[in-house]
Subunit: 63 residues, 6 copies
C-alpha cells in the first residue's frame, strides 16, 4: 500500500485537487507495478507562516 | 523516545481519543520494552478533501 | 485508510513485530470504527546515531 | 517548495525511479502553478517486515 | 535540499517563528555544508488534544 | 514533546551530528519556552537515488 504525502500551499480548487491525486496515483501505480486501488495520497496544506526557505518564512519572502 | 504518528479522519469524541492513545502507547511500550512515559503519540486529522484512495478523493468516493 | 507510523529503535524479533502491528491496528480500527483491513502500519527503525533527546544523541546517552 | 514523500517497496530499476520522480514532479508543478524546480521528491523504501495491512506484516501476507 | 520538519505546540508570536526558522536553517546549513538557500523548514502545530505522552493526552496532563 | 525531523544527505562525521542536534534542540527549546530535555531530534539520511529536485534525481544532477 504505497503512500504519497504532499506538503504544499493550500489548493483551493477541487478540480485541481482531483487531477493532482489522479496523476500522482497513476505515476506511483506504474512505478510499483500495482493497481491504482493500492495507492493512498495525503495532501497536507501549509500556510506561508508555516514554511521557510533559506531561513525566511514564505510569509516574509512574499512581501 | 518512540513516536507513533496517526493519520486518519477527525475523531470527535474525547473519550475515544483517550482510549486510542492509551492503547497505542501500551502496544509500543510492550514491543520496545520501555516504560509508557517514553512513548509519544501524534494524531493528525485529515478531511475527505485531503485523502485519496485509488486516485479518487475520499470526498468523491462517499457521494 | 488510516496510517500509523512508528519511529523507534530496531525490533529484532519477528514475533514482537507481529504482535505490535496487530495491537496497533486493533486500537485504530476501534477508534475509527473501521474494519482492520483499512489500517496501514509503517515501522521506521532508527539507530542511536539518528535520534537525540535533550540535545544529545542516544548513542552518547548510553555510554 | 512543495515536497512529495513516497513510502513504498524498494524500486530496483533506476529508470523506473527517474520516470516516477519526473511524473510526480510534473503533476505537482501543474497543481500548484509553480515551476518544476520548486518541487522536491523523497522516496522512502520499506521492507515487507516494516509494513502491515489489516494487522498483518506484508512479509506474512505474501507467504 | 534538506528538510527540517517541526512538530510542536502552536507558536503565536511571529518574531519567535522567524528566529526559530533562521536558527534551525543555520544549524542545518553548517552541518550539511550547504548554503542556507537549500534548507526548507516546515512548522506543524498540534493542539493538546492531538498529542499524548505516556498514554495521556497533553490536554489531560495539563489539568 | 516537540519533535524535529531532519531529511538530508548522510552525515558521516559524529561530531558534526552532535553539534547539529545540540543546535537544533537549543533553537526549539528557546522558541517553545521549554527545557531542552523535552526536545527530540530524528535524523533521516537519504541517498542521491532517493531524492529529486525539479524532477531529476540528485544522483543524476551530480553527474
Amino acid at each position: 500500500m504505497p503512500i504519497i504525502t504532499l506538503d504544499g500551499p493550500p489548493i483551493a480548487d477541487l478540480e485541481t485537487r482531483r487531477t493532482l491525486v489522479a496523476e500522482l496515483t497513476r505515476a506511483a501505480a506504474n512505478a510499483y507495478g500495482m493497481p491504482e486501488e493500492k495507492i493512498i495520497v495525503l495532501i497536507r496544506e501549509n500556510t506561508p507562516e508555516q514554511v521557510a526557505v533559506g531561513g525566511q518564512l514564505i510569509a516574509d519572502l512574499r512581501r
